[in-house]
Each structure stands twice: as structure tokens, then as C-alpha cells.
């Protein structure tokens, strides 16, 4: 006869299984959609206009130098957040590889060039899920220079989610460098 049912941990596991498992079946994979992320970042905006940027070779070099090494990215998308005809900020949605799979995250930059807290739209692997911690994501808020996004010195590492935290930080650095190089004049910032 198996003696595993005499484990002192078994009651705890039963409780978790009873409480959590049915919930998990009922709740489908729920994420923040792009539209929800846009609204969360700029609730005052009444429209979001798709933007397209073509970079010169020199701009690309500037951005690459300012953003540092990057993990593989998916397609980067962007919108101008508008209130009437005024651009009040920009929203970017990017995919970057965490440990093995893509993390989808949204970055908001105000017209003053300052970052808003980063939003995670989707996290797809079990390890490194700590990246979703609100307080970690809030570390980005208020920074306006890619040089203020140094891992550890500015943005604290997450022990146990090192790759995810490094890759997202580098991705935000790239987006901020892109904005500074190409979109700053459009935003009416300084």
C-alpha cells in the first residue's frame, strides 16, 4: 500500500487543488488586450492612431548604441495617444523572448518623454513569471533617458527571473531610444 497519503503536506496540496483547480478550468487565458493596455496607459486619450516610422541608417545606429544588446524581438507596434488633435503620448507593444518564449509588454511614453509603468500583456512560460510584479514594473515610471535604464543600478534584478527582467529592461531601453530619436518632436516635448 502506498504511504504517500500520510504526507504532512498532503492536506495543503488538497486544499490548493480543490480551491485553485476549478478556478483554473473556468478562467480562460485572460490577458490585457492591446486596447486595454492603451486605455490603462492613457485613460485621457480619445483615440489611438497607428504610427509608422522609417529609420535612416544613422538613426538606427543611434538607437542600437543607446539600447545595448537585445534578446530576440517580435514585431514592434506603436500608436500615438490623442486627445482631440493633440498627441498626449505614445504607446508601444513589443514581444521579447523571456527565458525561452515571448513576453508581450506595453510601454507608454508621455508627451514630456517620461515612461509610465510598464504593462505585461502576456507571459507564456512558468519560470520567470515574477516579471508581472507591479512594483517591479513601476520602477520604469518617470525615467526619460535610456541611460537611466541600467540593469541592477537603476532597474533591480529579479533573482530567479534574471533573463526575463534583463530582456524586458533592454526592450524598454530600445523603445525609449526609438522615441527619443524619432518621435520626440512630434510629441511636442522638449
Amino acid at each position: 500500500m502506498s504511504r504517500f497519503d500520510s504526507s504532512p503536506l498532503w492536506p495543503a496540496i488538497s486544499i490548493v487543488a480543490t480551491v485553485v483547480a476549478p478556478t483554473s478550468v473556468a478562467v480562460a487565458a485572460t490577458y490585457l488586450t492591446v486596447e486595454q493596455a492603451q486605455k490603462a496607459l492613457f485613460p485621457a486619450a480619445d483615440s489611438f492612431a497607428v504610427i509608422h516610422v522609417t529609420l535612416t541608417a544613422e538613426q538606427t545606429r543611434t538607437i542600437v548604441d543607446a539600447s545595448g544588446p537585445q534578446a530576440p524581438h517580435g514585431e514592434l507596434r506603436g500608436w500615438a495617444a490623442k486627445r482631440g488633435d493633440t498627441i498626449i503620448g505614445h504607446v508601444f507593444v513589443d514581444d521579447v523572448v523571456g527565458r525561452e518564449d515571448f513576453i508581450t509588454y506595453a510601454v507608454g511614453i508621455g508627451a514630456d518623454g517620461k515612461l509610465l509603468p510598464v504593462e505585461i500583456l502576456a507571459y507564456r512560460e512558468s519560470h520567470g513569471g515574477e516579471i508581472r510584479d507591479k512594483r517591479w514594473l513601476s520602477q520604469f515610471a518617470g525615467r526619460s533617458d535610456p541611460a537611466q535604464l541600467r540593469m541592477r543600478a537603476d532597474i533591480k534584478n529579479i533573482a530567479g527571473a534574471t533573463l526575463s527582467s534583463e530582456h524586458v529592461t533592454a526592450g524598454v531601453r530600445r523603445i525609449l531610444a526609438l522615441w527619443t530619436t524619432t518621435l520626440r518632436p512630434l510629441a511636442g516635448g522638449n
Binding site: F4, W10, S24, A57, H73, G78, E130
Partner: protein, 431 residues
């Protein structure tokens, strides 16, 4: 949106011209009204064809235009496929180790070479696998081993809850789930998370893992456990890593008794991680002569990164129950089964960033451990003495020359111990 460009717009125009020519030829033989009707019909067809042609040309122009939602097109940034089906990974470590007092024991080793593949079946289901070769060559005459380090199916129930089934790493300590050479200081893994926690420790079973927005990660599961009948009392080496000598690694594991485990980690304050884990399961595995030999391991750990500092501490304790009756059958051999073992360490590193993403990190680690701090009494003259505590100080440098490549140097000194102190050199990588 899918847009299909017209493949042969010129052919459409040619058809229209041909239709008009045919109509002109037919006009000679037909009455006036019929001709007018036909001309009206043809005119209507031409208008329709021109409209179709214009649509197709517009479609083609739209297809050629850059995708409206892409901010950065191909100007320097390569976007990879949005869906990663197979993700390859790997790590490896090579080392050179020279004991100070015994040159004959100097070794150079390709200690680990690991290749991993993760395959995504659908949005919620993945396979995670790692294949490892230890010590370069595995054959009957060589010391190497080929091992499957991980092979499990992971299912995402929602953004906060995951389930795993298969062979996976135990969520125990600071190193076990993050054991790649770029993630720890020193050429070799620390002594406590080698001798007390048998890193890389994996078991077969089920696991549930959850994360909360507040920074709590929890794991619970049911898995295979240790097998005390594997204990080799004839070799004193068994006492160097008690759990490492009775682990099963899902290699035709005896599974008469299953184990349970639970872990919780808090990372809600950026830069801080505190956590604890407990694993417990009978290691008797219903083998004859083994009864109620529950192995319980628990540990608590903390890691804190203030600025460039990287500070860690861990305490772990292991108890193997009811070892007396088993040890009675082993009397006379050099290695009887310990009832208790424990270890702890504190570590400090300073990660000095250099230009170009290079980092140099001097570190020091102080460890205390005893793999047999208590032995169950089996009578006077028969019960072996507990071992003395091992105290060790390691100091060295990790030099990260590129993201994922690290050169290492350290010096390990055993305090009041007759074991030989040693110098180690190493190189490690992870991708």
C-alpha cells in the same frame, strides 16, 4: 488582414480587348436593336472590368505598402517569427581545479554540456527538455554520464497558473532551478546546494505553480522521491552527498512511496527574494527491510540586490527517519546512513559594470555544513560518531565577458579541516 495581389492584371485587359473585337465582327450581321442591346451590355461589362482592374491595382498598391502597424520596419531590427515553435537553449561549464597540497589530484574537466529544446504545441501547452552530458565522454571506461535533466509538459491554465507533468526541477533553494554557470559565483556550485540539497535535483511527477501580482510565487506537487535501498555503505563517498547518493532521477525509479513538496517565494519588493521549501516522502519505497524511512528536507533562502551588490543566504536541513534498523544491517561498513544533515551559507558579490555590458564581480562565500550531524543510536560500540562540521571560505571573481559568457577564478579554503584547499579556474556559458 490578408490581401492578395492580382497575379496577371495584363491578362484581364487582354480579355476585355478580345471581347470588344468579337463584338465588332458580329455587328455586321445583326439587326440595329440587337446590336445596340449588345453594345450596351458590352459597355456595362467594360465598366465592370475597369472597376475590377482598378480594385486589383489598388489592392496591389496596398500590399506593397509597409504594414501600417509596424513601427520599426526592417531598418536595423530583425523581427523574429511571432510564434516560437521550437526554442533552443544550452549551457556548459569547463573547469581546472588544483588542490594546493596534492598536485596529483589536479583535474581539468568539461563538467557539463547541456542542450535544451522547448517545443510549443499550442498557446497553452509546451514541452521543456534538457539533455546533459557530464564529464565529456560517456562509456564503460569513462567517467561521463548522459542524463535527461528535464523533460516535462507545461500547461498554462491562465496567466497566473501553470501545471507541469514529467521530469522537472524541484523548486528548492536558490540554485536548483537556476543552476547555469552564469547564474552563480565561483567555478563550482556552493557546497551546501551540492551536499545537502542535491542540485541539479529533479523528480518525476505533477506540479502546480502560481504567481500573484503582489509578487508571490508558489509551487505544490506530488513526485517520486529518494530510494534508501540505493545507499552504498561500502563507500565513504556516500556521506559526502547523502541525498545525492540515494536520488533516482526518474531512471526506472522505485515509486512505491511518493513524495510531496511545496515552495513559496516572495519577490514583491524589487531586488529582494525570500522563500522557503519543504519536500517530504518515504524513501523505503516498500523495499524489504525498509520501514518508515521518511526523508524530509526543508530550506529557507534570501537574496537581495541593493544597487550592484548581490547578497544571498540559505539554510537547509535534512532528516531521514528510522535509520537505526537499516544501519544495524550495515554495521562494519564505513558509511552508515546519517539521521540528520544540515548546511548554511552567506555570500556577498559586487557586480561592477564595465563598458560594453561586461561585468566583473568579486565575491566571497562562507559555508558551514555537516552531512552527518546526527546518527541514530543503534547501541554502544555500534553507533558511529557524527561527522565534524565543515567550514569553508570561497573567494574569487566572476568576469562576464559577454552576456552569457563568464570566466571564473576562485580559491576555496577549508577551515579546521584536513581536506586540501584549492584553486579553481573555469569558463561557463548559457544561451
Amino acid at each position: 488582414m490578408t490581401i492578395t495581389a492580382p497575379k496577371h492584371p495584363k491578362r484581364l485587359a487582354a480579355c476585355a480587348a478580345l471581347a470588344l473585337t468579337s463584338a465588332t465582327v458580329a455587328a455586321h450581321a445583326a439587326p440595329q436593336e440587337e446590336l445596340e442591346a449588345r453594345l450596351d451590355a458590352l459597355a456595362a461589362q467594360v465598366v465592370e472590368l475597369r472597376a475590377q482592374l482598378a480594385d486589383l491595382q489598388a489592392d496591389r498598391a496596398r500590399t506593397a505598402a509597409p504594414p501600417q502597424s509596424a513601427v520599426v520596419s526592417n531598418a536595423g531590427f530583425e523581427a523574429v517569427e511571432a510564434e516560437v515553435k521550437v526554442a533552443w537553449s544550452g549551457y556548459g561549464e569547463l573547469n581546472y581545479s588544483r588542490p594546493e597540497d596534492d598536485g596529483s589530484a589536479t583535474t581539468a574537466d568539461l563538467a557539463r554540456f547541456v542542450l535544451g529544446a522547448a517545443y510549443r504545441f499550442d498557446d497553452s501547452t509546451r514541452l521543456v527538455s534538457e539533455l546533459e552530458i557530464e564529464h565529456a565522454v560517456s562509456s564503460a571506461e569513462d567517467p561521463g554520464e548522459v542524463e535527461i535533466e528535464q523533460a516535462y509538459i507545461e500547461r498554462r491554465f491562465n496567466d497566473r497558473l501553470f501545471g507541469s507533468i514529467g521530469l522537472f526541477l524541484m523548486p528548492v533553494g536558490l540554485l536548483n532551478e537556476n543552476h547555469e554557470p552564469t547564474r552563480y559565483y565561483g567555478v563550482f556550485r556552493n557546497l551546501v546546494e551540492t551536499a545537502i540539497i542535491p542540485t541539479t535535483w529533479r523528480e518525476g511527477g505533477f506540479e502546480l505553480q502560481g504567481n500573484t501580482d503582489g509578487g508571490v510565487r508558489w509551487n505544490v506537487g506530488v513526485s517520486t522521491g529518494f530510494n534508501l535501498s540505493k545507499w552504498d555503505a561500502t563507500s565513504a563517498e556516500s556521506l559526502e552527498e547523502p541525498l545525492g547518493s540515494i536520488h533516482q532521477e526518474l531512471a526506472l525509479a522505485s515509486a512505491g512511496d511518493l513524495a510531496t513538496f511545496a515552495a513559496v517565494n516572495y519577490t514583491g519588493i524589487p531586488g529582494l527574494r525570500v522563500g522557503a521549501a519543504v519536500f517530504t516522502g518515504d524513501a523505503g519505497q516498500e523495499q524489504p527491510g525498509f520501514e518508515d524511512n521518511r526523508v524530509t528536507l526543508w530550506e529557507g533562502h534570501a537574496r537581495w540586490n541593493p544597487g550592484n551588490w548581490d547578497l544571498s543566504a540559505l539554510y537547509s536541513r535534512v532528516r531521514i527517519a528510522n535509520t537505526g534498523p537499516v544501519n544495524l544491517t550495515l554495521v562494519g561498513h564505513p558509511a552508515l546512513i546519517p539521521e540528520e544533515s544540515f548546511g548554511w551559507y552567506v555570500e556577498a558579490a559586487y557586480r561592477l559594470p564595465l563598458h560594453d555590458q561586461k561585468t566583473i564581480a568579486p565575491f566571497a562565500r562562507y559555508e558551514v555544513l555537516n552531512t552527518a550531524s546526527r546518527v541514530a543510536s543503534i547501541g554502544a560500540g555500534l553507533t558511529p560518531d557524527p561527522l565534524d562540521e565543515t567550514e569553508a571560505l570561497t573567494a574569487g571573481i566572476n568576469f562576464e565577458i559577454a552576456r552569457g559568457v563568464v570566466l571564473k577564478f576562485d580559491y576555496l579554503q577549508f577551515l579546521h579541516d584536513d581536506r586540501s584547499d584549492r584553486f579553481d579556474l573555469g569558463v561557463g556559458y548559457q544561451f
